[in-house]
């Protein structure tokens, strides 16, 4: 087998040194009546070409986003990733290294995590950030747990316009941790009343902006009300590129900012792996979950980086740990930080403007159709349309015409009774022709 270097002669020599006659003697502790002698239900080994063929056949049964006019968002976005990014993340030393437990030979990983932490802090307008989490939704759940630790209060309030999957992810962790939760009702056109849900019993209020329908939310009054009640504001975003154009949540008074970083540097990958961003105020850092890289010096006084404040973590604190997480999304964080380094402030701002312009153009084109209304007053690169008909069926009919036209809100929240809404995203990869084709196809489908 091509990945196994030992030869039969090697194995015989090694068995001799160990002092056993057959390798099965090394498995003697496994109860004899439970041992397997073969795996009859699985195929035998295959060469590289055959494996490639088998997997390519599966891949061919999907419609890649890049092959059609594409407007699907709702928490994952198709952006262009420069070739440099994918080359660099496949460098052996990045790809095949481990958690930097031996910092002297992991300075590459540690320095890029330190740079990533700084970038995320700057981008979100916060003081500190961790070295990434699994994804945006799990980061949001961890933020709620952290708010609970900080305030010693149980109840979290979730905005109605929070992405339903994020709400469910938070709800699952909260339910098993026995923490109460209040979820507000969605208001697709925006302007939902969050303020009246905030009182002295609340640990945190979780608000997404741009929200799941695409509306931008002014966080400042929510932060004020939360702080007056002794609660924290957890600000969520699912589209990191929006931060190139929109006022950062940190500048609006957020205490914890969490979000999905996939749209910078990372492919869609059918939902994972992604990269969760997590930033907070410096004074809360010891209650922050996840990994942290910190600056220090070596024995010769040269600057270097290490994992730090690990006394919060499971491998030291065990059942008293801040969180059970023992990893981050290292390589996805690397892709994020490389792409963002290439963009820089000037590039990110321009990229965000292109996205916003594309969405504005598409919104205008769709709003001009008879049986379509754009529900948003404000949005970044994603907005919601109300169609005369069943949104899920409309999306299927568009797919049959070779256009992936968005996400029916009913797919995210079947119980909400909002069956005529489609979330539509337009990024820099959409062309004028794509947008025109979408409008024409939607017009036909609704006719």
């Amino acid at each position: 087998m091509r990945y196994l270097p030992l030869t039969p002669e090697d194995r015989a020599d090694m068995l001799a040194r160990i002092g056993v006659s057959a390798v099965d003697e090394l498995f003697a502790d496994i109860p004899a009546d439970k041992r397997q002698t073969a795996l009859p239900d699985l195929p035998l080994r295959r060469g590289e070409m055959e494996v490639e063929r088998a997997l390519s056949r599966l891949a061919a049964r999907n419609v890649p986003a890049g092959s059609v006019p594409f407007f699907v968002g709702a928490g994952a976005y198709r952006h262009h990733v420069p070739a440099t990014v994918d080359h660099l993340i496949q460098r052996s030393e990045f790809l095949t290294s481990y958690t930097p437990y031996q910092p002297e030979i992991a300075q590459g990983t540690l320095q890029y995590l330190f740079e990533f932490q700084t970038q995320v802090a700057e981008l979100t307008g916060m003081e500190v950030a961790n070295a990434s989490m699994y994804d945006g939704s799990t980061a949001a759940a961890e933020a709620v747990l952290m708010a609970h630790r900080l305030t010693k209060r149980g109840k979290a309030v979730l905005a109605g316009n929070l992405h339903p999957h994020y709400r469910e992810t938070i709800a699952t962790v909260s339910r098993y941790a026995d923490l109460p939760l209040e979820s507000l009702t969605p208001v697709p056109a925006g302007g939902e009343d969050i303020l009246s849900a905030i009182d002295q019993s609340v640990s945190c209020v979780v608000v997404q902006s741009p929200d799941v329908f695409g509306n931008l939310v002014d966080l400042k009054p929510i932060a004020e009300k939360a702080h007056a009640a002794g609660a924290l504001l957890v600000a969520v975003f699912t589209e990191a590129v929006s931060l190139g154009l929109v006022e950062p949540p940190g500048a609006q008074g957020a205490d914890i900012v969490v979000g999905e970083g996939q749209s910078i540097g990372n492919a869609l990958n059918f939902g994972g792996p992604y990269v969760g961003l997590f930033a907070t105020r410096a004074k809360f850092v010891r209650q922050m979950p996840g990994r942290l890289a910190g600056e220090t010096v070596d024995a010769e006084g040269r600057r270097g980086f290490v994992l730090t404040l690990s006394t919060r973590e499971q491998h030291i604190r065990r059942e008293k740990a801040t969180s059970n997480i023992c990893t981050n999304s290292g390589l996805c964080a690397l892709a994020f930080t490389i792409h963002l380094s290439l963009l820089g402030e000037a590039g990110l701002t321009r990229l965000a403007r292109i996205n916003h312009a594309a969405a504005c153009d598409l919104a205008d084109k769709l709003a001009a159709l008879d049986k379509v209304a754009v529900v948003n007053a404000s949005f970044f690169n994603e907005f919601t349309i109300r169609v005369a008909g069943n949104a899920a069926e409309v999306v299927e009919k568009l797919a049959a015409k070779g256009i992936l036209g968005g996400v029916p809100y009913s797919r995210l929240a079947p119980q909400a009774g909002l069956d005529d809404l489609i979330l539509v995203a337009a990024t820099e990869v959409t062309t004028d022709e794509d947008r025109a084709a979408y409008a024409a196809a939607l017009n036909e489908v609704l006719a």
Partner: protein, 522 residues
Amino acid sequence: MNREGRGATTPAQTTQAAGPNTFTGNRALELEEGLLFEVGRAEVTGVDLDEPAAFTPRLGGLERTAPLGLPGLSEPEAMRHYVRLSRMNYGIDSGLFPLGSCTMKHNPRLNERMARLPGFADVHPLQPQSTVQGALGVIAELSRWLLTLTGMSGVAFTPKAGAHGELCGMMAIKAAHEASGQKRHIVLVPESAHGTNPATASLIGYEVKSIPARPDGTVDPESVKAALTPQVAALMLTNPNTCGLFEADVVEIAAAVHAAGAYFYADGANFNAILGKVRIGDLGVDAMHINLHKTFSTPHGGGGPGAGPVVLSAALAPFAPVPALVADGNGLRLVEAEGDAGAEQALGRMSAFHGQMGMFVRALAWMFSHGADGMRQASEDAVLSANYIRASLKDVMSVPFGERPAMHEALFDDAWLAGTGLSTLDVAKALIDEGYHPMTVYFPLVVHGAMLIEPTESESKATLDLFIGALRDLAFAAKAGDKERFLGAPHYAPRRRLDETRAARSPVLRWTKPAALPQAAE
């Protein structure tokens, strides 16, 4: 027993490495690289984008007005910055990476090529399901292999890492107890367990009770039986355990757990040792997470992303989280809402989408490549190599648990260092100078100054022999009083020993402009 693990390093001032100091700080191929914020500039960009045609923004008056402070790099600068950083890292492709419990096996590049096929990488999780039948096919096929290899009934495929899988499995256990109207609040965890086990149990409200290890490094069924009260929800056991030993009494332990009305959770971190050799379902396990980044070779990537699907027994399978995968007349379909047909008893949702698809493809490529015969051979070679290392070093280093066969990793303690004035950490740092990534140190906690060596199946006998030789030489040097070799180590890494105490005492967690006040975080 050293329950604290290891303390933070505080290096003594040491002598300079040989040779003159260079003017640049570089040392030939060892090139220093400033921080992004020192080499980049806010006005530079390495991405050419055209300004859009004039339009009226609709940002609701929430436009950003202040600069962000994000530096940019041109493409050549970016390439060089990250290439230089990468060269300060040790990876599996550089050499032996014998981290016990981490299974640093070869990462085949075929897996990378497959994961990057547009049909997998460029597919959105919320596309109409008719357009992603191949992606759902990957999940179905991966599930079939995992179920066949474990003899279990169901798969929760969405957890994003091992610890996330633990959380999912323990939630399934809690959901199952709740469904039968039981309130149990204790989880038993052997003291040799990974820290994630107790952390996971306590995260969802369980009280953790520790089970001591026997002198032979395994769990005594009698200790488990004594601890099994009607309040116990589950036992969490790693098998093979973190000492690298197979828990031979596992069947008896599982039976006792079940007789007490509790569930048996297995930590699958060490699955590589038993792949194709025994099915955990036959041992009485109810739930086990599988680290695809260990056993199935998906890259560790400097710490993630991993993937931690959970296999579940018939008793727990109904509680798997959404989305769940079902097959019907039209092909494969995801059930995405709790309570819908196919997910009536789902425990909830673990994360936004459908798990780590990119990792599923890579793991499946590894499975297809090995097949039934290759997987069994891989397990046998991993176990053989670990035992070979132990047999080759037991005369110069101390083995805590006698002569029972090791499984996939060889455990040593620091008794052999007695009187040398050196610690396990010093040995690890000296190994860096010899060109190896150190083994896992100070874990498991049940052994004093533990050194846990896991070679995996990916190493040739020549590599193993060189590594054994290096450790033997270090052992003789340690006993001969050659202290500076150890205390000053590493001498030849991009950095000498780093001051972890300082990093934790006054945390600097981000770059700030030099003119600014002292760092954040305190």
